[in-house]
Symmetry: C2
């Protein structure tokens, strides 16, 4: 029973540290106005659309663990900024399929080259290649937690 007690303590300590560092990262990242004047959520949406291709508001909301109404607000902002455009689904009239605009794609590439993202800059400045690998594999674990 000592073993499982130790395990329980480890999980508890991990939760404590994880919560603290996640909150802190979020505040730090937001205050730096990462890219353009987009929010973290909006950037995540763009990245997801770029990586996984077109999707609907509902699908994006599910993927990001967000309510469709909240995702709708993010999509509206991205659409107003000309970064995302919607087209009616060919067979299902309820759905609107969202894609990145060409302007968005070129903007993403140029902002990557310009290294405007605080998080990217900080990762490069603070972490060596081995640590980046280590963190990258830990991201998979975090994703398991977030998706559970």
């Amino acid at each position: 029973m000592i073993g499982s007690d130790t395990e329980a303590l480890r999980a508890s300590a991990l939760a404590v540290d994880l919560r603290a560092v996640v909150g802190k990262l979020k505040r730090r990242s937001r205050e730096q106005a990462p890219l353009g004047d987009l929010t973290e959520s909006q950037i995540s949406v763009l990245v997801r659309l770029e990586r996984d291709g077109p999707a609907t508001v509902s699908a994006l909301a599910r993927a990001e663990a967000m309510r469709p109404q909240s995702m709708g607000a993010n999509i509206a902002a991205l659409t107003a900024a000309g970064l995302v455009s919607g087209a009616p689904h060919p067979t299902d009239g309820r759905q609107t399929v969202l894609s990145l605009t060409d302007a968005c794609r070129s903007w993403i590439m140029s902002s990557r080259e310009a290294r405007q993202d605080w998080l990217v800059r900080t990762i490069k400045a603070q972490l060596d290649p081995a640590e980046i690998d280590q963190l990258a594999s830990a991201i998979g674990l975090l994703r398991r937690l977030a998706d559970s």
Copy 2:
């Protein structure tokens, strides 16, 4: 130059994934109403006070990368809930030193036993001991990013 290009791409991809998973974790964790009806920030404060001992509002704000006014609001909520109490600093009349109340300490212990924390439960359910160790060491890397 190919090497540094690959590095840059890795950092960029890591930033992308990190941002997405941090946001998702934050939403998931909040929607579960983790402990009592405290917010994530308030929990972080309690944990910090428990681990590092009494502190002032300003010190806590610096430690959590938050404005003193924002931290003040969190402290006010914790004080109203009877979880934190303030005492005047013995020599510096401007400062108020904050400590956990006895009620808070016993509440922390009981809620730990009851395993009410979604994040703790999820870590135990989703991660094996080796993975918990892996994630724990990655937390150190995240903290470097957040503190930089």
